[in-house]
């Protein structure tokens, strides 16, 4: 017998997908497994992936029910930032969790985010690869060096008050996320950074939970070679405007 729910707080997990038909069933299964004791829904935002991710999503919906799995999306690939905004419109929870669908973000950490949030009633809880037991798997020394350097430069120039600015595994109070999304104008990669910088500006409180980031096993990366250029551009933009 399942225990009676501790509280009726509801959590909405937004899962943006593009060509994740291999990963989607696995991530959903993991979420269901690790969120057993919580009241939650998963909102899959699929941008009409050519590999049939939407059909997979609908099949999973049949298995787990419409209460748990909400399937939505756009006609074509419109980018990650706007996928969050789209998903948020469907969120019925008090809190919104944002994560990647490629198994880099393990759902077991969501419970830790939730406990962290309750500790000090944080507005935001962010996963961090750069502190405590956090880390990465499948990165060579070059990638680690680039990542650490980029993070260091960002810390020195922006002093954002959080250790992982570019990660996208986070929990937000719903109205906090709404406010942030409204005021962030960056696209793609830089969007995550701007969200945290603005959060700092608005005085939102942010808790951190160390996470292990395991590089994707299936499917292809959507972020291409000009990642570093995008990062520098975004950094300069935030440096000179915030």
């Amino acid at each position: 017998m399942r225990n009676k729910r501790m509280s009726e707080t509801k959590y909405s997990i937004i899962l943006p997908t593009y060509n994740e038909s291999e990963n989607l069933p696995l991530i959903i299964w993991l979420i269901i497994k690790h969120m057993e004791s919580e009241n939650f829904e998963v909102i899959i935002v699929d941008d009409n992936s050519p590999d049939g991710t939407t059909q997979v999503a609908l099949e999973l919906q049949k298995i787990y029910g419409k209460e748990k799995i909400v399937v939505t999306g756009r006609e074509k690939k419109l980018g990650l930032g706007s996928a969050y905004i789209h998903g948020m419109k469907f969120a019925k929870g008090d809190f919104v969790i944002i994560m990647d669908a490629d198994l880099s973000h393990h759902p077991k950490f969501i419970e830790q985010f939730i406990q962290k949030q309750k500790e000090k009633n944080y507005d935001i809880v962010t996963g961090t690869r750069y502190a405590g037991d956090g880390g990465v798997h499948g990165w060579n020394i070059k990638r680690k060096a680039i990542s650490r350097t980029a993070n260091y430069v960002t810390q020195v120039l922006l002093r954002p008050g959080v250790s992982d600015l570019t990660g996208s595994f986070r929990l937000y109070k719903k109205r906090v996320l709404e406010k942030l999304v409204e005021s962030c104008i960056s696209k793609g990669y830089v969007f995550q950074m701007e969200m945290m910088v603005r959060a700092n500006q608005f005085g939102f409180s942010v808790g951190e939970v160390p996470i292990s980031f395991v590089d994707r096993q299936f499917g292809e990366s959507k972020l291409g070679g000009n990642e570093i250029f995008q990062f520098l551009k975004g950094l300069l933009y935030l440096f000179s405007t915030t």
Partner: protein, 93 residues
């Protein structure tokens, strides 16, 4: 004040103090002996900052956790997931 403005403010403040020192406008008197050292202060600070930064980054790269356990555990869970989903009638492509 933006971060850029804060940096410009800080740099300007520092340069004015340094120039005042160099032009002998402060109680610390410039002599033939210390002139070279005083004129090298900015370069020295930049070099120091660079070296400290490199040490910090090198340390952080070398202590960046590898999470091998997490990866192993994930692979195990993926296996479980595939089996369980199959029994629930899900068809993998």
């Amino acid at each position: 004040m933006t971060k850029l403005a804060q940096w410009l403010f800080g740099i300007t403040l520092f340069l004015s103090i340094w120039l005042a020192l160099l032009k002998d406008l402060t109680p610390i008197k410039v002599t033939d002996e210390n002139f070279l050292w005083i004129s090298l202060i900015p370069v020295g600070l930049i070099a120091l900052f660079g070296i400290i930064s490199l040490i910090i980054i090198a340390y952080r790269v070398s202590t960046f956790n590898n999470c091998d356990e997490a990866a192993k555990e994930l692979l195990k869970e993926i296996d479980e997931a595939k089996k369980d989903l199959a029994t629930k009638g899900f068809k993998f492509k």
